[in-house]
């Protein structure tokens, strides 16, 4: 497999930590004319789905574009996305009707976006989050069904799960994330040689054996516990699948390049440490996607009631949103808004990192759909209607981009429905009560 050597020679490594590929024309031979399929195997390039979460919303008048449709204007707080505006959609004016359930501050909004349901009590998620549903559709054949990350380092910070006590924990350590992805068990898709590991074969057999216990347990459990066992055996199947992938020679992937090892830096609530951690994690995640280790991801920048601080400050981002005086001249809270600016910059960095990786004549971003959202609109008042949301990327051309969509007060679950439909989930109605909807956001669907 001579192409492997050619490719290696053509790669120039990392610039500022971000993967940069210089021209490797030979490699394009592996793509068809549209850059969408691997000519060598006929297999399509993977399309990925992910979420990107930030806490504490926006200053609506400074964030939302004024003009719905294509070529939206870019208000002050969206400036960091300017270079990618053609690939990003903004969604405004989608509401979160709770049907009388309490608005649990910083909790209800995020849960509603992801599950289409109102929380009636804080016991984890009120239902399955749609990223998991999408993972069931597109993630079952990759090595990892999904990758969850928390830039603030908190494993409990997650909005992904099947509901109730099932919450996918977030990885908070870049070095642990690296080991998981590129440590033992990683098979470089562009490696010339491939030898299945006999240990892995043995482990796969062992896991198959675990499934044997299913019948004996399930025959005598109630419905709650049966659901839990189902989830357990789903996890077993995923782990078996992970080993199966490790035992199969992967198809070559043009953009896959194993990143250098990383070393953890201390992460605290201090915003600079979180931003730095986010950057390290993003670089690893981008290569995990380029190397097709997973097709689904969830990145949490901070938590809902953001505990981010600036060094030396006696007050957190969350407290600032509530307690800082609304500057009458400026029309916003300058200290709290500092955090928002940094968050939007981090989002811009995230999108940029995906867009820098070329896949044929497209980029990794183009072959991905990232759904970004917060958990409230204006944190000072905990408002959850008009909750800010964006998408980046076109899911391999399945979504129109560069559009501002005005939801005109329709339920926020339309976004969850749309994401699922775009990613190939067979669903026509989603959400419960007032958030039940069969109206996808057709303006952006191809």
């Amino acid at each position: 497999m001579a192409y492997d050597l050619t490719r290696r020679g053509a790669l120039r490594g990392m610039v500022n930590g971000a993967a940069v590929l210089v021209g490797v024309p030979l490699l394009d031979a592996f793509l068809d004319g549209n850059g969408t399929a691997l000519a060598a195997t006929g297999g399509a390039l993977p399309v990925r789905f992910g979420t990107w979460f930030w806490g504490l919303g926006v200053n609506p008048p400074r964030w939302y574009p004024t003009k719905p449709g294509a070529n939206y204007d870019i208000p002050e707080e969206l400036v960091p996305i300017t270079p990618f505006a053609k690939k990003i959609n903004i969604y405004g004016n989608f509401n979160v009707p709770l049907d009388g359930a309490p608005n649990l501050p910083h909790i209800s909004g995020g849960a509603a976006v992801r599950t289409g349901r109102a929380l009636t009590a804080d016991r984890g998620l009120p239902g399955e989050s749609f990223d998991v549903t999408i993972g069931d559709r597109i993630g079952t054949r990759s090595r990892f069904r999904s990758l969850e990350l928390s830039a603030s380092g908190d494993a409990r910070n997650s909005l992904s799960g099947r509901g109730g006590g099932n919450l996918n924990p977030s990885e908070g350590s870049p070095s642990a994330f690296y080991e998981r992805l590129f440590g033992a068990g990683f098979k470089d898709p562009n490696s010339a040689s491939f030898t299945p590991d006999p240990q892995v074969m043995a482990r796969r057999s062992v896991l198959s054996a675990v499934s044997e216990q299913r019948h004996a347990l399930e025959r005598s459990v109630g419905a709650d516990d049966r659901a839990k066992l189902d989830q357990y055996f789903t996890s077993v199947r995923q782990l078996e699948n992970q080993l199966e992938v490790e035992l199969t020679k992967p198809d070559p992937l043009q953009s896959c390049m194993v990143p250098p090892k990383v070393t953890d830096k201390p992460v605290s609530a201090e915003i600079e440490t979180v931003i730095a951690n986010h950057k390290m994690m993003t670089e690893l995640l981008v290569m995990a996607l380029a190397c097709d280790q997973s097709r689904v991801f969830n990145m949490m920048l901070n938590n809902g009631a953001s505990s981010l601080t600036r060094i030396g400050s006696t007050i957190t981002h969350h407290q600032l949103t509530h307690e800082e005086v609304l500057d009458q001249k400026l029309g916003y809270q300058p200290e709290a808004t500092y955090f928002l600016t940094r968050i939007m910059e981090a989002w811009g960095d995230f999108v940029g990192a995906l867009d820098r990786v070329k896949e044929g004549d497209r980029t990794l971003l183009d072959n991905t759909l990232v759904f970004a959202h917060s958990e409230c609109e204006f944190a000072k008042f905990h408002t959850i209607d008009n909750l800010p949301m964006m998408t980046a990327g076109s899911a391999g051309g399945r979504l129109k981009t560069g559009i501002y969509v005005d939801g005109a007060g329709s339920p926020i679950s339309r976004l969850g429905l749309t994401m699922q439909q775009v990613m190939g989930v067979s669903v026509d109605t989603w959400g419960t009560q007032s958030m039940q909807t069969n109206r996808a956001v057709t303006e952006v669907m191809v």
Binding site: R123, G164, L207, S211, Y232, E323, H382
Partner: protein, 567 residues
């Protein structure tokens, strides 16, 4: 490798059992078809995921402390106003979580059967080291399986794990590698990762269920020692004697008298006081230069040492935890508290002088720092924690549309202290209702800053630490401690928590049970040992609220905060 391939095939066939395919001789396949259609007498009534501490303690108890457990544990979601113990009964295992359990399992199994340790666990000598020895494999796996699953392996289970070991031994050319794979399989089994509670019909109350003997052994052991049942419990369970009330009481009595009860008490209070929050505790290094990672690590330990000393070593009154000046100190903490400790020592007993105002758990930096922001104190968070954690009085969340404009920023020189800033809430009728529950008592903490250090001024203005709770006025944490010690809700709260902790579900609807237990707790001088002995020995603790087997999955309960906020 060929042999391993066969295992995979066999297991795949087993997976197909549900569709009627029968594979003779393997595991569940031997269950008769009839079993699937008749309601079994034994019923699984709860699957409670092992906590990290329970997992670690189980491995240490079964294999010895030398066997290292390295890995990250999927956190268990805590339902609001409930215990992690309740969350564990609803906890699923995600793909990422299982990946971690699998890695830990393989790592443990390698250590157990390495050349150094295998002698302790393999009671026989294999005929040849490089091949399978079915008899020796089963002889090894049966006792290990009994400890791990907290009951004897069934015959099909033992045959199955034995077969796994034999085939893996043949494939790898190593008897011990075979055992390793079989053990790793047991360690990722739901029978190990979950405490499987099974119940049978109650002979005394038709229609009701009671936990069977094995489940009683596990419940006693995890409740009181936070670890897996030992030989004595398993033997007694095998004889059916744990269903006997007198025997149960004898065990409860002996177990709360054992030094191992300390592990149970630590786990209970760590759960009740939300110690998982210490994992994420961070303070601003410039605002609080005395707060560092050594301090952060020592804070929960100082609280637990104080608790253990008061309620176990001294067998004291639980309520004195709010008034005692006795605690323990190490060097990192001594600098935070600005006190002197002997240069060489690790933890040493320490008694605060009364004028330090540090009485009880509430005067310790662990509590004070945990319920503060990263750069300042918070009377509201502290007051709320006292209400919710120690008095079991849930405080409603702020309304979704709350307007905070009344609260000004900390740099405003006109509002130097928290008391002045918070008084702004009193002007807003929406805020007033809830802040009246938290702030008057929370303001008594104000002479301790957000890291728990003593102070007398904030922004140059003197601090007034007058507080009030339910009509009683007092000064400082010492005054609050006295009020807490006299508040009957404090004893009732810990009694209710003990019931919840034992049963793995919220009990706040079972007011009769809580009141009866709290009454006994009070009558016996508020002794924690007596409280847990009572919970562990009470036949009522092993009764299962009847619930039809096919009741729909209830993932979300009614909002308890809504129901119980009549504060």
């Amino acid at each position: 490798m060929i042999a391993l391939g066969r295992i995979a095939l066999a297991a795949a066939a087993v997976l197909a059992i549900g569709s009627g395919l029968n594979v003779k001789g393997i595991g569940a396949a031997e269950l008769s078809d009839a079993a699937a259609f008749t309601e079994p007498a034994e019923r699984i009534v709860a699957l409670r995921r092992l906590t990290e501490a329970q997992y670690r303690n189980s491995i240490a108890d079964i294999f010895g402390p030398e066997i290292a457990v390295a890995g990250r544990f999927e956190p268990i979601v805590r339902p609001i106003h409930e215990l992690i113990s309740s969350g564990a009964a609803g906890a699923a295992i995600s793909p990422a979580g299982l990946e971690q359990f699998d890695a830990m399992a393989r790592n443990i199994a390698v250590q157990v059967f390495d050349a150094k340790h295998r002698g302790q666990f393999v009671p026989c000598t294999p005929k040849v080291e490089v091949a399978a020895d079915p008899a020796c494999a089963e002889q090894t796996l049966a006792p290990l399986g009994r400890y791990l699953f907290r009951r004897p392996l069934t015959a099909p289970e033992l045959a199955f794990y034995g077969r796994l070991a034999n085939q893996a031994a043949a494939a790898t050319g190593s008897f011990h590698k075979g055992l390793e794979l079989a053990l790793a399989t047991m360690l990722v089994s739901p029978n190990f990762l979950y405490i499987v509670e099974t119940a049978r019909p109650d002979p005394n109350r038709p229609g009701d269920l009671v936990l069977d003997d094995w489940s009683r052994a596990a419940r006693l052991s995890f409740l009181l020692w936070n670890s897996t049942p030992n030989e004595a419990l398993l033997t007694t369970a095998a004889q059916g004697r744990l269903s006997d009330d007198a025997e149960l009481a004898r065990f409860a009595e002996r177990m709360v008298g054992s030094p191992r009860f300390e592990a149970g008490v630590r786990a209970f209070f760590a759960d009740m006081l939300l110690f998982e929050k210490f994992d994420a505790l961070a303070k601003d290094a410039i605002v609080y230069p005395y707060f560092n990672s050594d301090v952060a690590k020592a804070l929960p330990e100082q609280l637990l040492r104080t608790i253990v000393d008061q309620v176990l070593t001294r067998d004291g009154d639980y309520r004195d935890l709010f008034t005692t000046n006795r605690t323990f100190m190490n060097r990192p903490l001594a600098s935070l508290y600005q006190v002197r400790v002997p240069a060489s020592a690790g933890w040493v007993p320490y008694e605060f002088p009364p004028e330090a105002g540090r009485s009880g758990l509430l005067g310790q930096a662990g509590f004070l720092a945990l319920y503060s922001h990263s750069g300042r104190s918070s009377p509201t968070l502290r007051g709320r924690a006292v209400r919710e954690l120690l008095l079991c009085q849930p405080v409603p969340d702020p309304p979704g549309n709350v307007n905070f404009t009344a609260v000004q920023d900390t740099t405003n020189t006109a509002m130097p202290t928290a008391r002045i800033r918070l008084s702004a809430h009193a002007t807003d009728p929406v805020c007033k209702g809830c802040h009246a529950i938290t702030d008057p008592l929370g303001l008594s903490f104000e002479k301790f800053d957000g890291a728990g250090m003593f102070r007398t001024v904030e922004n140059g203005a003197p601090i007034d630490d007058e507080g009030a709770m339910d009509g009683a006025a007092f000064f400082g944490v010492a005054g609050l401690g006295q009020a807490m010690a006299q508040n009957p809700a404090a004893g009732q709260c810990v009694a209710g928590r003990a019931l919840e902790y034992a049963s793995g579900h919220a009990v706040d609807q079972e007011t009769d049970r809580i009141e009866a237990l709290a009454g006994k707790f009070a009558a016996q001088g508020y002794k924690i040992r007596a409280l847990f002995r009572e919970v562990a020995a009470s036949p009522d603790s092993y009764r299962i609220r009847s619930k039809p087997i096919d009741a729909g999955a209830t993932r979300v309960s009614m909002n308890k905060a809504e129901q119980s906020n009549g504060l």
